[in-house]
């Protein structure tokens, strides 16, 4: 299965999504996963294009896909940002629907385009069995004790006719499975695919702010230490706005949240031996390093306790085995003694018998002799 893709980084890759990019590259390097950046790609247009015009919605992503087809033939396209992923998939789905559609697209982008390559999300690419195996082989530190709420957002899974059946629309599992692979504990929670508000956090913040608060609330209620994301815009809306939400909560007499957010690639990078700086975890808005240290210590203590428990278990087993061995020896000794005693008795009896017989024989002999 593919370990090499044409890569669509998206506009946030070098700005607000910097940590996603550096952690993706770190993991890719470690496991030999190749990302060939599409030359001269352009913005996918995201919801702004879709809301402006259906033609613009499909044309903007098609230019990058057409360039990829020309410059990186034979490679499927991977998009890390969920918004980019949905836009590229929307355009691809439109193109593949009919000859008329793809012809119209070619006119709009003024380029040859056959819609040959598939488009996948980074989450889907990483969920491939070969990639999972490559990750598992390189894990140097399991992120045990870290309870994660895997947050997929909407664009990774909806609409289904665009995003395909790679994962479930209501209860996706791919990120949960990747987190289990590196030893983290995914929690069961209800807001996996609830919307973060996307660009509406800017346009209609009053209406959109409660969306973020509910996501944090549900993650906390289900015992999560942190939220793991697969989209730079979800990340920005959650991580950057947690402070303002906390401020409002404190003012309303409610307890503030202390839930750091991570990209799934950051956590995989950590498990592969990366440090917080090279993975970009040090530039998060909500402090994200302390939890990792706390859980690292927890994991070490747990490991120690497990080792002690295992040693104790082994000791108990050895003790039992020793007792059993002693008992067995005792039993064997008793049996041997009994056997010996029996043998002795037997011997005595035999001796007595022999003696009796001898005596009888002698007597008979004597009698016979006397008779002679």
């Amino acid at each position: 299965m593919p370990m090499r893709y044409a890569y669509f980084p998206g506009c946030s890759a070098n700005t607000t999504g910097k940590s996603f990019t550096v952690s993706t590259n770190y993991v890719a390097d470690k496991i030999g996963f190749e990302l060939a950046e599409i030359p001269d790609w352009n913005c996918c247009g995201t919801s702004a294009a879709a809301l402006t015009s259906p033609e613009l919605e499909v044309a903007l992503p098609a230019r990058s896909l057409a360039i990829s087809e020309r410059e990186l033939p034979g490679l499927d396209v991977v998009a890390s940002c969920a918004g980019c992923y949905r836009s590229l998939r929307t355009s691809l789905t439109y193109a593949r629907k009919s000859e008329g559609n793809i012809g119209h697209l070619r006119e709009l982008i003024n380029m040859p385009y056959e819609a040959k390559a598939n488009v996948v999300s980074l989450l889907e690419a990483f969920s491939d069995e070969d990639v999972r195996t490559a990750i598992a082989e390189k894990v140097t530190r399991k992120l045990r004790c870290l309870k994660v709420a895997c947050y997929y957002g909407c664009a990774m899974v909806r609409p289904a006719d665009v995003c395909g059946d790679f994962d479930d629309e209501e209860d996706p599992q791919s990120m949960d499975e990747l987190m289990k692979l590196i030893g983290a504990e995914p929690v069961d929670w209800a807001y996996k695919t609830e919307c973060c508000g996307a660009a509406q956090q800017m346009a209609v913040p009053k209406q959109a702010k409660p969306m973020i608060e509910r996501i944090f609330e549900n993650a906390a209620a289900n015992g999560a230490d942190c939220i793991v994301t697969s989209c730079p815009l979800c990340m920005l809306n959650l991580d950057m706005r947690e402070a303002e939400i906390n401020k409002a909560r404190v003012a309303a007499g409610k307890a503030p949240f202390d839930i750091p957010c991570y990209y799934f690639t950051e956590l995989i990078g950590l498990a592969l031996g990366g440090d917080v700086k090279e993975l970009g975890i040090d530039i998060h808005f909500h402090p994200a390093e302390k939890l990792l240290l706390v859980r690292e210590l927890d994991a070490l203590e747990l490991e120690e306790a497990e080792r002690a428990a295992a040693a104790e278990e082994a000791r108990k087993k050895a003790e039992l085995a020793a007792k059993i061995a002693a008992k067995k020896a005792e039993k064997a000794a008793k049996e041997a003694a009994a056997k010996e005693a029996a043998a002795e008795t037997q011997a005595t009896q035999t001796a007595v018998q022999t003696a009796t017989q001898d005596a009888a024989t002698q007597a008979t002999d004597a009698g016979e002799g006397a008779a002679e």
């Binding site: 506009c11 910097k18 402006t52 346009a203 913040p205």
Partner: protein, 208 residues
Amino acid sequence: MQTLDLSAISDADIGACESIAAEAGVNLKDCYQCGKCTAGCPLAEGMDLMPREVIRYLQLGALDTVLSAKTPWICAQCVVCSSRCPQSVDICSVMRAVRQASKRAGKRPIPEADIFDDEFIANVRAHGVSNEQYLAAAYNVKSGHLLQDMGNATRMLKRKMVGVGIHNTKGRSEVAALIDRALAADAARHAETKSENVSSAHAEGGDE
């Protein structure tokens, strides 16, 4: 829900509502008003019309009510409504189509949402990619919310997430031409639909 005078609804309005649904690829008759879209909508509490009501008013031909509604402009396009609809009505697409029709009618009841999208596309038209810091700045100036997210902008600068440098796609003139072609195709299609609606309304009107 408001009282609606059904006799005041014109055939042209009904035709326009049907055009909006057609643009979204939706048959309005499929909706039986179960309300599942509203139940799942994460923004419903901030909307003036519930998503279900938008569909209902379109069914009734209440064009002005729909075009003046804030709901389509509050919608975040998360698609949960369409995904859960038992009748497979693509409500989310309807929201987009209503929004575009509302803009063409010069309404845009929440100017901020429209300004954001226009500035986003203008940014992409100029550079081929979106430069978030300039998008945010342009949005604040045009929407009049000068201080919005300014604290966050400082935090981003401190983390070197954004800077003053502008990223450009080499083929940005190509991207600009693409955007112009797409918008021209869009406009041409709507001019056609409009003339069809007008002529059919005239034909119906002529019978009276």
